[in-house]
Symmetry: C2
Subunit: 575 residues, 2 copies
């Protein structure tokens, strides 16, 4: 802020000059007093400069309406929307989300610092306020191969950049517990630190707190939430496309502890955001579940601002950014208009803000490089056993089951069996063409023929494929190489449908509405190969390679048992 | 924190090594969930590293007791205690205050940057955590002469120092409203800013908020408090020696808005702190008035930490400073033991911490320089009128009344009249020996003979004297020059009692218990000259020179009418 700007704002606050915009007669959601108050809200230069009795160059009569602070998504991987920050911005602003705390963890795992640069650059071109936490775990674990490795020293120059708040979700808990040098270096960068405390015990949470880790978005039970809140962690109530923890956690929210509760989406698919919403959905659901509307809105705005030290956000008061929602109904959170920095950016669910030039994507394209595949690349030796460690999927949940059961063996190798719903799954390293392929068997996808594959495979984003035949899996992987990343559906050795994700194999270069249509086609095509419709097969697949979430996962280095934190063979060898 | 420290703390949190101290079986005041919880509190290296089941080198059984976070005084002028930070520390720690946000405004007005340096240096030698806000208004106004002038550029090097949080109470509201360059420079230093919004209207508060001013400790009514809270200001509920706003403001505190309410003492005299307490008194009073004990303790600890971004303070959780109070009783806030950074520093109201060497005071002594006084120095011309503008004091209140009434005139000059309790009052510039003397008439002191004078005279700390004769006023001022600052009581042209304040004329070089005894002697001596006992004459006197508080005040430049914000003559000239 310049001196002239400050002087001008003071003059407007003091009624020496008209405000740019005055919103009159609304019931104002006051997060400080937790009451509804009244008064004209005067905006100058994108900032709220007064609540009282004001005149404006533009004036809006909001009689009968409610004015709430813009919402904040406390933790989101924009890449999971499969569109660029610019496109993402146009999707979430109409849902009342005016600020997000983004962790560019996905693109960093593919493109390293080039990925960070791209996200920061594209974020600059959005009207949405995108604040960044820098990925702390690239690669996520030492049990997989990612496209990059980011040490503390790589993060230092980014930490100084505008819009960078700190260190994103520390998920390598064993590294913290052991006090690994590289991890301690990151923890000592002296910035805010997000956690990722999936399944951690009381003892582990004590360690996390001691290490300065402030938040957790991985609670699944009320009891986990209470234990973290009591130890000073902010808890983010997450509702994403796969991980849906909101209803369970809302049961633990009280008027007394709500000040430490925030909302996030973490990973939410484009279609879900368009159809269901972003954190506006969390707020709406909280109200439906009996949380006071003002408390719920505070959780979705002010509390996140407090947590991340965004002192000008999350409230309607002089000196705060004019990020505002005009609501037709408070309880339903019916968003009529969205203002960002005092500008109207969305109306009745449609983005009406300015559009910018596309950002240059040169440094984050052509990221799919695999070694040549043969028809034998996907053979899983049964090693004399007919019993296998099998990944059992839980629809719409990141946590898998670790099954041990009989699986069909042909010529000494495990094979897919559509009758028993035991399908072969493969993770194919795609950053360095190392030829690494991790193989396993998965139960629950229910495909009847063909295969599906994607370069969106958390967190290293190798190619992950599941299929009814080795041939279709191979075809799927090769199709993704040709596409330079994306999602494919294979039937009878041919591409049935695809969604190209040219940016790091994670994000499309197309506008969000085009991608939305492509996704619909994919959804329809999934039915043709027998995929069930009660969960999203691609999304579920994309998390099967995430070795920080229980119980049994698959990386390019093989099957991974999260409980023992080590790789294991597929065949169960009984002694 | 070094890497080795962090590693060690993690190891203790993870039970690989014993904690330094474990406090067992206490009911823990949890400010996050607003509940009482249980568990061993493990401390290592001055930091809480775990709550659960721990072993320690030292272990304390706190069965039946309560463990609360150390208290935080959100705004205090240490100088008002009349002892050094080291001595102040020994007084407040036994009252459970482990952190204070200090504004060295008083010494800065006398000694400028030397004063700031002294306070920072002496604060280093205390076990108390003293965080500083830098004085924003030195001099407080342009209507008086202080010993120094601090511009934004003078503050910049201090802003970078450890323990400096921001800009202290901005009290020159007209300068903000006008957008004065020098004030805008300070507001743009880009740090946290405290306010001082005495009597400000809704419009003014909009201006303050727009200017980034975050707190106010000058509310006197519940309505003022609500208006500030609604506009995003933190409100400090103040209970000092003179300004006592606690009871009135507690009526406005709700469970919903308490998160924006803090406690402070602002200016509290040594004897009051010893006998009544510091912000522990505020907490105790709040509980007595019906505020939930955990809410009241949060207001006195966590809320202040949140306001000032002290992210490791105000709560009992892993990663937080081990600043702890062991309470025998929660409702009564009976403080049995105080731990600072995990060390026992007070027990049953007595300081038991370490003692340091006295700091060097050379740069902040010999600060009293006055021009020679004559017997005519204190004459107030009646200018043909017999009616005068008279300062009416309100005992224990900073606000004075502006009286206009007949006053005795002899030989064309107004004179003191003990019958009518109209006494002459003088402010004598004492920094540069300019010879400036401001004169007036005051009602309410009730002295029967003699005079009192002090170099503690907010905010410029010139000599302020009130007396029954010009001779005694002159003797008082000269006595203070000889003492090099302090408090004096004069009777029959002689010093009856005195308290030397060698440091900037504000603080004693003696230990607090010696000063306490000296104050008792002063109090007794006041009775000998007829001073009333229901209020503190010296304290009340010391605020009569503060031109930012209504209604009629006196500076070295003359009588000051706060309503019209200008100097006025004593005589009322009717036209």
């Amino acid at each position: 802020m310049t001196k002239a700007q400050l002087k001008n704002r003071i003059d407007v606050a003091n009624k020496q000059r008209k405000a740019d915009l005055v919103i009159r007669n609304a019931s104002i959601v006051n997060v400080f007093t937790k009451t509804l108050t009244t008064g004209d809200v005067a905006i100058s230069d994108g900032i709220i400069v007064g609540i009282g009795d004001y005149k404006g160059v533009k004036e809006i009569d909001a009689t009968g309406k409610f004015l709430a602070p813009g919402l904040i998504d406390a933790h989101v991987h924009i890449e999971s929307s499969m569109v660029t920050p610019q496109q993402f911005s146009q999707v979430v602003l109409p849902h009342g989300v005016t600020t997000v705390i983004a962790d560019p963890h996905e693109i960093a795992n593919v493109s390293g610092t080039n990925g960070l640069e791209f996200m920061l650059m594209d974020a600059e071109a959005t009207l949405l306020d995108i604040q960044f936490m820098l990925p702390s775990c690239v690669p996520a674990t030492s049990f997989e191969n990612a496209g990059a490795c980011l040490a503390a020293e790589d993060l230092v120059p980014f930490m100084r950049r505008d819009g960078v708040l700190g260190l994103a979700e520390v998920m390598d808990f064993p590294a913290v517990l052991r006090g690994d040098e590289a991890m301690l270096d990151k923890l000592l960068l002296n910035r805010q630190i997000d956690g990722h405390a999936a399944g951690l015990t009381e003892n582990d949470i004590n360690v996390y707190g001691t290490a300065g880790i402030l938040t957790d978005h991985e609670c699944v039970t009320k009891e986990e939430m209470m234990m973290r809140l009591e130890r000073g962690m902010y808890v983010m109530l997450r509702e994403g496309s796969v991980a849906k923890n909101l209803l369970a956690l809302l049961e633990g929210v009280t008027e007394q502890n709500a000040h430490r509760c925030l909302f996030c989406t973490d990973d939410k698919h484009l279609d879900d955001m368009i159809e269901e919403g972003s954190v506006d959905y969390n707020v709406r659901t909280a109200i439906k579940q009996g949380i006071h509307p003002i408390t719920a809105i505070s959780m979705g705005s002010f509390n996140a601002a407090q947590c991340f030290g965004l002192h000008q956000k999350g409230a309607i008061a002089p000196g705060y950014d004019a990020d505002l929602l005009l609501l037709d109904d408070l309880e339903e959170l019916t968003i009529a208009e969205v203002y960002k920095d005092g500008q109207l950016v969305a109306q009745n669910g449609r983005y009406v803000g300015t559009l910018q030039e596309k950002s240059d994507t040169a440094t984050v394209k052509d990221t799919v490089r695999i070694a040549e595949l043969s028809k034998n690349s996907f053979q899983i030796p049964a090693s004399g056993s007919t019993k296998a460690h099998i990944i059992g999927i839980n629809p719409n949940n990141l946590i898998t089951e670790h099954l041990m059961q009989e699986a069909p063996v042909v010529d000494g190798f495990f094979v897919s069996d559509t009758e028993k719903d035991l399908l072969k799954i493969a993770v194919i390293e795609r950053h360095w063409a190392t030829g690494n392929i991790g193989l396993g068997i998965v139960h629950g996808f229910g495909l009847k023929n063909g295969a599906i594959a994607t370069t969106v495979a958390h967190d290293s984003h190798n190619i992950i494929a599941v299929g009814t035949t080795d041939r279709d899996i191979k075809t799927a992987a090769e199709a993704l190489e040709n596409l330079k990343g994306g999602l494919v559906i294979i039937q009878d050795g041919k591409v049935l449908a695809s969604l190209p994700l040219a940016i790091a194999g994670l994000m499309s270069e197309e506008p969000f509405d085009v991608v939305f249509e492509q996704l619909k086609v994919l959804d329809e095509s999934l039915k043709l190969i027998g995929a069930p419709t009660h969960f999203n097969a691609f999304l579920t697949l994309s998390f099967l390679s995430l070795p920080v979430i229980p119980k049994l996962k698959l990386t390019d280095c093989g099957l991974f048992d999260v409980a023992s934190f080590q790789h294991i063979p597929v065949a169960v060898i009984e002694e």
